[in-house]
Amino acid sequence: MDYQYIGKSIPKVDSAQKATGTAQYINDLSFPNMLWGKVLRSIYPHAEIVHIDKSKAERLPGVKAIITAQDIPDGLYGPFIKDEPVLARGKVRYIGEPVAAVAAIDRETAEEAIQLVEVEYDELPSVFDPLEAMKSDAPLIHEDLSSYFCIFPAVQEGNVCSRTTFVEGDIQQGFKEAGLIVEETFRTHMQHQSYMEPSGAIALIDPSGKIIIHSSTQGIFITQSRVSESLKIPMSKIRVIAPNVGGGFGGKIETNVQPICVALAQKTGLPIKVVLTREEEFTAGRPRHPTTIWGKLGLKKDGTFVAKEMINIFDTGAYSDDGPGVTGFGSLMARGPYRIPNLKIVGNCVYTNKVKSGAFRGFGNPQTGFASESLIDMAAKELNMDPLDLRLKNALVPGDHSVGKQTIHSVGIMECLKKAAEALEWKQKKGKCRGRGIAAVNHISGLLTVSAFVRINEDGTISLHVGTMDIGQGSDTILTQIVAEELGVPLEDINLISRDTDAAPYTWATSASRLTYTGGNAVRLATIDAREQLLELASKQLDENKDDLMIQNKKIFVKWDPEKGLTFHQLGAISCWVKGGPIVGKSSFMVETPPFDRSGFSGFPFGTMTGYIFAAQAVEVEVDVETGKVKMIQCASAHDVGHAIHPQNVEGQIEGGFVQGLGYALTEEIVFDGGKVINPSFADYKIPMAMDIPPITPIIVEAYDETGPYGAKGLGEPGLVGVAPAIANAIYDAIGVRIKDLPITPEKVLDAIKGKKVTIPWTDIWKKNF
């Protein structure tokens, strides 16, 4: 099909602003009489708060307010389990937890003031390792867990705040049929999103008493609802506006400083700005869950997968946040894009006395994917099969099923695997100490809701109202392209109105790789609705049959008589002033079909998901066997996106995802001493820079999805997911050692070369019958 705007790499709608530096971010905004807020944070991982003395801080000139839990409503909030207070109430559960907050005339005064707040603590026993936290005698981090409100029927036990289980087929029988069983324990680490712009917000109260929050967020409606539930303010009294957002990668879906900001604004009546420092981002942000994963894969001698069992332990830190979702989704994806008839996957989301982990590009999939894709290469080695061939043998084909028995029609995994391998000349001879590795990825892009209005203005231009957040990924451009396509209008005629809860209809967040698929569907349907209304009006005005009309160049006219027609301008004016009423196309899109067969599910915190996307990452590495350093030689990343609405943007996402995966695999790690982060800065936390980025070949695979807009599916997350296992597999291919815990540091590689055993503690947990 020929499209005018779809499939074209047009300039992004925000690129001029971004390139010229005129785009405004939270830190660029300020308001008259605005105060700076600063958060006092816990210095203990687990302690009772005995007493807080604010008096010294209150006497500091320039200090306008100091609040503690006593000064605010006792609401608890969180996306899945309502377990988190705005300010610590009674006890603290991690180093970095907000205990009090100060508003002062400037940042320096606020910083000085929090140092004058005296908090008396009574330290409690703490636990940092989730495996220890699962022991029956471990200190309980949330005594009231069973009383918390959960949005799903959570399975809970001790410090396990959520346990999700997926069972299909007969796991025991499956392993009996296996001619080969590989089994291993893996460990992954904590990674920070490292978005360029730290989290921040400004809260003010307008004369009517309405609270206005300028929020650096991935979801304006999520900010609205978290502030509402935590501070017990009706949503009708909260307006959330987002400026440009300097990256999120999942870390800005949920709120961070927003409720604190609002509480300070309420207390002082003045605008309050709170922006985190980079150190606060590392110690009190929302990084990727560390995990310990035990996996077991059973295969027939010919390589056919017959059974898989996995126990995933996700360390969610002091509060559940997105942990139940990450654990559940990571476990759902743990089968991989393969046919495996007999399956048992158990995910445990476990509290520890560390910073809470949350959503981060991949949402649990990078962790389980690392284990799963490493296991496949271990099996390939035992069977003396090419790891690519083993994957192709078991890969899903159209018509196969998801976990939960949905039929998936759009499946491009085979093509992704083949093309990624081809790009590296997979079968060609390799140099010394060089190896190639590949990993396959499955993910989703259809989840929850987006609603949209498309209005035809008096002058025939278009207003698109949609609550989606473009945080750099390009959704504003994609959604504008869709409106342009359906109405045949130029992009500059479209006014995209988002980022304001008072102006845009409800949308769930920028997350789950969903805005092209889920958002694209909503916007397309709303635009079609508006178009039909336009045609209807034109048909009445022209006294012609609707089917005989066509749209071109902002004009509706009779197909065989182009002279007989009305312009969009005329129709807009007629609708607003004369007849029919203003045209508003609308769509409320919810991902409801196909439903999961949930008979083998327990404790899964989501409804249905769809828009399955596939990817394969392939890498060639060279290992320096004297230093253990891994050098990336070349890389390819192939993605089944259904249909690339903006190919250049797709390639950018593929490359960006790959680089973030490279950091995850090799250099990035939040390191703890007990409960304390010891590298909370970019001096000690290392993300790859331009010089570290190898040649990456982005490959677009298009397995048309009939349920997506123009056949399109999502892309955002999978680009990262397969990078770490592909590298681990390539290292094995190069020098015959397997790295089982991330990140793959030179030291670990060297230890492995020397044959040092990596032991994962307390393996008894794997024998437990969940």
Partner: protein, 288 residues
């Protein structure tokens, strides 16, 4: 709160005088180390003395007998691009190229890099291998010290009250010589886990007449592997010599464990990198 007074001296003498009178004053050169310390509250100086406006502190000159003179205020980028340095001791340009990123190389100065006494800094090992000396200027006095005597501990040096590192002198190398600086870093150009510099010079017969090896990142100060000279000078260099020096370097190393690497790993890498650095210089000098 972090208030400080700001002072712009017109001459080195004035700067030294001011520093002498204000014990809590700090020198602002490029600021790449100072501003980080300041922002993190690790230092709270009473005054900042901006020496950037003093003329004559950013020169690079060559004299056939004296060698290179490098002003303390030269930016890393100046070192990287200087034709004189490229011609007479390219190892300094190599070290400069391995410091951080272009924006930082445009700001940071060689004097600051040395005076900060960060044991992992990139210039000191190269300067040690080059047998460089530092000119320390104080009111009414100048003293010239060999670089390895400058460092005393982590972030500590011998600079006295009112004293400024104004100049670095590098004596001429034999005509047939070459140097190599290599470092192990987590990402490209991040802080050296281990940094090793070697410089070797030969006579026409291929006999070693100059040798210097400097280490970074493996002790509380940069280290001079003094044995390199004894082992190599007067010899035709073989694998055995290289191995012997690498072992000596390893024996000297007394590293710490931190988030970037363990002490054991660093110690092991001193051996590997010293061998590579020496082999690199040898290959370059002999045109291999």
């Amino acid at each position: 709160m972090r208030y400080f007074e700001y002072f712009e001296p017109k001459s080195v003498g004035e700067a030294c005088q001011f520093l002498n009178e204000h014990e809590e004053a700090k020198i602002l050169g490029g600021g790449v180390s100072l501003v980080v310390l300041l922002k993190n509250g690790l230092i709270t100086p009473s005054h900042l003395v901006n020496i950037k406006t003093i003329p004559g502190l950013a020169r690079i000159e060559w004299d056939d007998r004296e060698g290179l003179t490098i002003g303390g205020l030269n930016h890393h980028r100046d070192i990287l691009l200087s034709p004189l340095i490229q011609r007479h001791c390219p190892i300094l340009a190599e070290a400069a190229s391995k410091i951080a990123t272009p924006p930082i190389r445009n700001l940071g100065t060689i004097g600051g890099n040395v005076a900060h006494a960060e044991p992992s800094a990139d210039f000191p090992p190269a300067l040690i291998a080059l047998n460089a000396s530092l000119m320390l200027t104080s009111p009414g006095r100048e003293r010239k010290v060999p670089i390895e005597e400058f460092f005393t501990d982590y972030y500590e040096n011998i600079l006295g009250q009112g004293e400024i590192l104004t100049r670095i002198d590098v004596p001429p190398l034999p005509p047939r010589s070459a140097g190599t600086y290599i470092k192990l870093d987590k990402i490209t150009n991040s802080i050296a886990i281990v940094g090793v510099a070697s410089v070797i010079g030969f006579d026409e017969k291929g006999i070693c007449i100059y040798a210097g090896v400097g280490l970074g990142g493996v002790a509380s100060t940069p280290l001079n592997v003094k044995g390199a000279k004894d082992i190599l000078v007067g010899e035709k260099i073989t694998e055995t010599h290289i191995d012997k020096i690498a072992k000596e370097a390893q024996a000297m190393a007394n590293p710490i464990t931190n988030v970037h690497a363990s002490a054991e790993y660093r110690k092991e890498m001193v051996y590997v990198l010293t061998r590579r650095a020496l082999q690199g210089s040898l290959d370059k000098a002999l045109g291999r």
